[in-house]
């Protein structure tokens, strides 16, 4: 049986659906106390399948965790905090994960798949146009990144510690920008809304998208394919579009949007100005944009999924064209 954490989330629902519908595997899904069954009923035409067990458990309760792991062979760990400042995200993502790592080591779990993030990689030190893949080292200054990337970095580092010291049979999947209904395609890699305008930062950069179903499929393969313990896989789709293409299509198919183009060189100068002002005025405005963050996100890189194809036998089951059509059609409604 496979245990999925965060199964009620955007990606988790897709993992649960595929495990049962495509891979015919029994699944136990750990959800937060208070999570409604309706989330899963919608996935399976209003009837919970027999292969799916829902279990309410708090990650800070070791007894509940042990119980959740009874009879489990593999774990796909997706649960993570998306909101709050650094301490809140560390508490919810890192501390909670450590309790799970410990429980999995105690129970002798055969495979542990951690859903990490592109944000843990030191992309800012990769030159413009350089390739982002599994060989890029982890971020040297996670404290200079946003709270989400910071917490995911701590979480992944801790998972590797448990792998090395305690034998946690770890496989890490680092997804790029996961997309699909009901999320908007306009992620921060493309730009930000401000003062009634869309500030377009991405321009001609390639956006490291991965459709939710394709990402779920890679996570499941990372759990099932033998002999890949200790490996990292970057999760991006084929035929990645540019930021300009996505914004143009959004304007045409979803809604008109007034936008201002802000090239990388100007954005970097603005980030320097933000840092200078913040320092000069004792943080009157926080340094939301720093050259480091700008480099990591908007410098313009290439992305590879070659390793996942070679070692996991993964390939996107939904093409980029089809995935974008589904997403834009949903947004247009």
């Amino acid at each position: 049986m496979i245990l999925v954490t965060g199964g009620a989330g955007f990606l988790g629902k897709e993992v649960v659906r595929l495990l049962i519908a495509k891979y015919k595997r029994p699944v136990r899904c750990v959800v937060r106390p208070g999570t409604s069954d309706l989330v899963f009923m919608e996935l399976f035409q209003n009837k919970l399948p027999e292969q799916l067990t829902l279990m309410q458990a708090n990650f800070n309760n070791s007894e509940e965790l042990k119980k959740a792991l009874d009879g489990i062979e593999m774990v796909i760990h997706l649960a993570a905090s998306l909101k709050g400042g650094y301490p809140a995200q560390v508490a919810n993502t890192v501390i909670a994960s450590e309790n799970l790592f410990k429980a999995c080591v105690d129970k002798g779990i055969k495979r542990f798949v951690l859903c990490s993030s592109f944000g843990v990689m030191g992309a800012s030190s990769v030159p413009r146009g350089g390739l982002i893949d599994e060989s890029v080292p982890m971020e040297h200054h996670p404290e200079w990144r946003d709270p989400y990337s910071f917490a995911k970095h701590m979480q992944e580092q801790l998972a590797w510690d448990y792998h090395r010291k305690n034998g946690l049979p770890l496989v890490v999947v680092r997804p790029g920008v996961i997309f699909g209904p009901p999320l908007s395609i306009l992620s921060t890699r493309i730009g930000l809304e401000a003062f009634g305008l869309f500030l377009h930062f991405g321009l001609w950069n390639t956006i490291p998208l991965i459709y939710k179903e394709n990402c779920a499929d890679m996570l499941i393969k990372a759990a099932l394919v033998p002999g890949v313990e200790g490996e990292i896989f970057c999760a991006v789709d084929d035929d990645l579009p540019t930021s300009s293409y996505l914004l143009k299509r959004y304007r045409r198919e979803v809604a008109p949007k007034k936008s201002v183009l802000i090239p990388y060189s100007i954005l970097r100068q603005l980030a320097k100005l933000n840092v200078w002002y913040s320092r000069k005025t004792n943080n009157h405005l926080p340094p939301v944009f720093t050259p480091y963050k700008v480099d990591a996100t908007w410098k313009g890189h290439r992305f590879s999924n070659r390793k996942a194809k070679e070692k996991l036998g993964w390939c996107p089951s939904v093409s980029m064209k089809e995935a974008l059509d589904i997403t834009f059609q949903f947004s247009a409604k």
């Binding site: 208070g34 800070n60 309760n61 301490p87 404290e143 701590m154 005025t281």
Partner: protein
């Protein structure tokens, strides 16, 4: 001045940032039961000492002041440890869970010659300081009535964390969510309402929808309290439903009224009119508009001069507390004031529980 932080949750970030802005103050250690929380604070703010054992930290870094920013139930036990190691304390609100604990630690501080400053930092917000000055200068005459409103967003960064976890410490406080917050509006009222004999009546409400069928559905999200002394009355509103979320104090005096908004950081006098009939309405609204324009222009200037820091009140309170430790000024918030606020908080919690019934549920 060597500062240490115990408890590396969300509010600790604000403490460290504000301490680091004060000349001659340096954060020498951070401590949390979770090494991950302690590490993240140490890494982000480049603090040398990182601990999970408070006694070890106190022994090794020997701080002058320890900021206690842990959940409220641990405030009193930690304060006793800190005092026994000879450090002063800045205590994040609420001071303690109840009056008895507050009296214990104040007695211990007095006996050891140490100071404890309650984290009633809203009292040092620039708008409230202006209101206090106006009252001291008798610009409003004798204070007749006060209204203190504090809004709260249940779906904000902290609200969503506590609502997402039935084991969150907030749900174990006797007064729940309100107890973690109402020391702010109480302190704003008591700053203008002297006297130890304060009669309190209060009622709590649950205006949100029941969602969880567990402890998270139990706490009051709204509190209405009336406070009175022989000469002054006050009304306290703690609300999670009112939008926009706001914190403000209005003073009604014998010679005038004024409202201090901590959100817009403005102080607007209600000047009234001395004209008859319909002319009064025109003059009254004109004077209201004039007040608004003056405050708007002031804030534009403050923005240009970078004087609108979010935690200005906290920064000012830290600065004055450290100065008091060095003997350069008197305590900004006397320990007796912390006891007064805690006593009123106890009364409000007790009254709300007493009056809780089916009428309070919606």
């Amino acid at each position: 001045m060597k500062i240490a932080i115990v408890g590396c949750g969300q509010i600790a970030d604000a403490h460290i940032q504000e301490v680091q802005k004060i000349p001659n103050a340096v954060v020498v250690g951070v401590c949390d039961l979770s090494i991950h929380l302690a590490r993240q604070a140490a890494l982000r703010y480049q603090v040398q000492g990182c601990y999970t054992d408070i006694k070890l930290m106190l022994k090794e870094v020997q701080p002058d002041v320890v900021h206690i920013t842990t959940p409220p139930a641990s405030h009193a036990p930690l304060a006793k440890i800190v005092l026994s190691y000879g450090s002063h304390i800045y205590m994040e609100k609420p001071f303690t869970v109840n009056l008895s604990e507050a009296q214990d630690i104040v007695a211990m501080a007095t006996a050891t010659g140490k100071l404890i400053c309650a984290g009633h930092n809203y009292m040092y917000d620039p708008a409230y300081l202006r209101l206090l000055a106006a009252c001291r200068e008798k610009k409003l005459g004798d204070i007749v009535h006060l209204i203190s409103v504090m809004g709260y967003n249940l779906f904000g960064p902290f609200g969503s964390v506590s609502m997402g976890d039935p084991l969150h410490w907030l749900h174990r406080l006797p007064g729940g969510l309100a107890q973690n917050n109402i020391s702010h509006p109480i302190s704003l009222i008591l700053g203008l309402m002297p006297g130890d004999t304060i009669a309190v009546s209060a009622r709590g409400y649950r205006l949100r929808k029941e969602r969880f069928q567990d402890i998270r559905d139990n706490f009051f999200d709204e509190i209405r309290a009336n406070l009175s002394t022989d000469s002054t009355t006050a009304h306290l509103v703690f609300t999670s439903k009112v939008r926009p979320v706001q914190t403000c104090v209005t003073v009604y005096g014998a010679q005038g009224a004024a409202c201090a908004s901590l959100d817009s950081r403005t102080l607007r006098y209600i000047k009234g009119s001395n004209l008859p009939g319909p002319f009064a309405k025109v003059q009254w609204s004109y004077l209201d508009a004039k007040e608004a324009v003056r405050e708007f222009m002031g804030n534009v200037g403050n923005m240009a001069k970078a004087r609108l820091h979010y935690f200005s009140g906290m920064h000012e309170l830290f600065t004055q507390f450290y100065a008091a430790i060095e003997g350069r000024q008197k305590m900004p918030i006397q320990m007796s004031e912390a006891l007064r606020v805690t006593a009123v908080m106890d009364d409000i919690v007790r009254e709300c529980k007493k009056n809780d019934g089916e009428k309070g549920r919606q």
